[in-house]
Symmetry: C2
Subunit: 207 residues, 2 copies
DNA sequence: TGCATCATTGCAGACTCTGCACTTTCGCCT
DNA sequence: AGGCGAAAGTGCAGAGTCTGCAATGATGCA
């Protein structure tokens, strides 16, 4: 993790370096003073970029705290998911995990972020909000798979099921990634964390 | 629904009337022009209150679109949940539903809101964000119940379980309330909707 | 009716965010 | 090397959100 980046030009390396510098500065400030006592100007001064550039990078004040948005899922992965059979929840969890791991998250920043989220729960909300933008897309993908898997189901019911699947998965995923991050002795696979969380969800829902 | 409010003084009635007027105006404008082409000033002009008052009521621009925050849960209900046994997910779903129904939601506004949410998924995100503020509290309540119910579990595991329960429930609840709203021929109980959604979650998670 | 209290309002100002024009930097090609 | 075209960073102006404070107005109650 946080190694083996597909290096290309100086331009991209500069961008990556800057991004981390800004994210780190933002997180430190927010941890020290609380999110709403931090201004974008403070972050910019601490990380030595112009406010205009800050917004070019992150779009919103909280952007640097939440981290850059993930790259969109690969079409190939989506198709594989739609055509696969078995547990839909498990499949979707893996689909998302693939994109997550591919983004090569920086562990140190992750841990700071987690500490901050514990201090300020509203941020967790914003995180959800950002993901929620993609929920619709995700829901449609799940619907496609459900249609293929159970063609006999009524459309309304299928839509509701898809929404439920997405709700459960987007709820469970952050916990899986957290478990993964905690367990990461050497190079534990995120699959284990997913399996574990999924088992727990089953147990919870059952009793 | 939207009857039998515990009426008190003129003051409160005025406030309620105003709130609805503003919410309705905001929703109409947002449906017509899209959320980010609507300004607070526009909403205020349409509903004839001052911007300052708008913010006193709703706090944020989106406040009127999301509706006033729910009243906090009653301590008695919380205690009953903690001491109850059986399905934790089911119990929590009912706990939240109780608060929801008690807030006496206005059906017409609800339907507009739903239409708007379909148009602008980011709003659904903000909805989640607002609820997320309460997630921590909810998580602690669930932990208390889990402690009572399964004292042998390790604390870490229990914390993760609690988070999962909250994730599943907060994901499933909006769908239950939507089902309820759709099915509402006469005075169907929200319990039915909950049971149905819960059954569906079980099925989804299982396969 | 008259007073105490609470709600609404106007105003000033801080902060977030965007469009546009300008400058700098980078990648590439001769 | 040197220079050109494209991409990225910056400054500025301005719209829009949101808050504190002080003043005004409405309500509840004696």
């Amino acid at each position: 993790m946080s190694s083996s980046a597909p290096v290309t030009g100086l331009r991209e390396r500069n961008r990556a370096r800057r991004t981390r510098r800004v994210e780190r500065a933002a997180l430190e400030l927010a941890l020290a003073h609380g999110v709403d006592h931090v201004t974008v100007d403070m972050i910019c001064e601490a990380s030595d970029i112009s406010p205009r550039t800050y917004f070019n990078y992150f779009g919103t004040k909280e952007g640097a705290l939440l981290g850059l948005a993930q790259a969109p899922l690969l079409d190939a992965d989506i198709e594989a998911f739609v055509e696969a059979r078995g547990s839909v929840v498990d499949g979707l969890l893996h689909l998302i995990a693939t994109g997550f791991v591919a983004s090569d998250p920086d562990r140190e920043i992750f841990l700071m972020r987690r500490r901050l989220f514990a201090q300020e729960p509203e941020l967790q909300g914003l995180q959800l909000a950002r993901v929620a933008g993609k929920r619709q897309a995700l829901t449609r993908i799940v619907e496609r798979r459900l249609t293929a898997q159970h063609p006999e189901t009524a459309p309304t019911e299928r839509a509701e099921e898809a929404q439920l699947v997405v709700a459960v998965v987007t709820g469970a995923f952050p916990i899986a990634s957290r478990v993964w991050l905690d367990r990461e002795d050497a190079d534990a696979s995120i699959d284990e964390a997913i399996a574990m969380v999924l088992a727990r969800v089953r147990r919870i829902v059952q009793m």
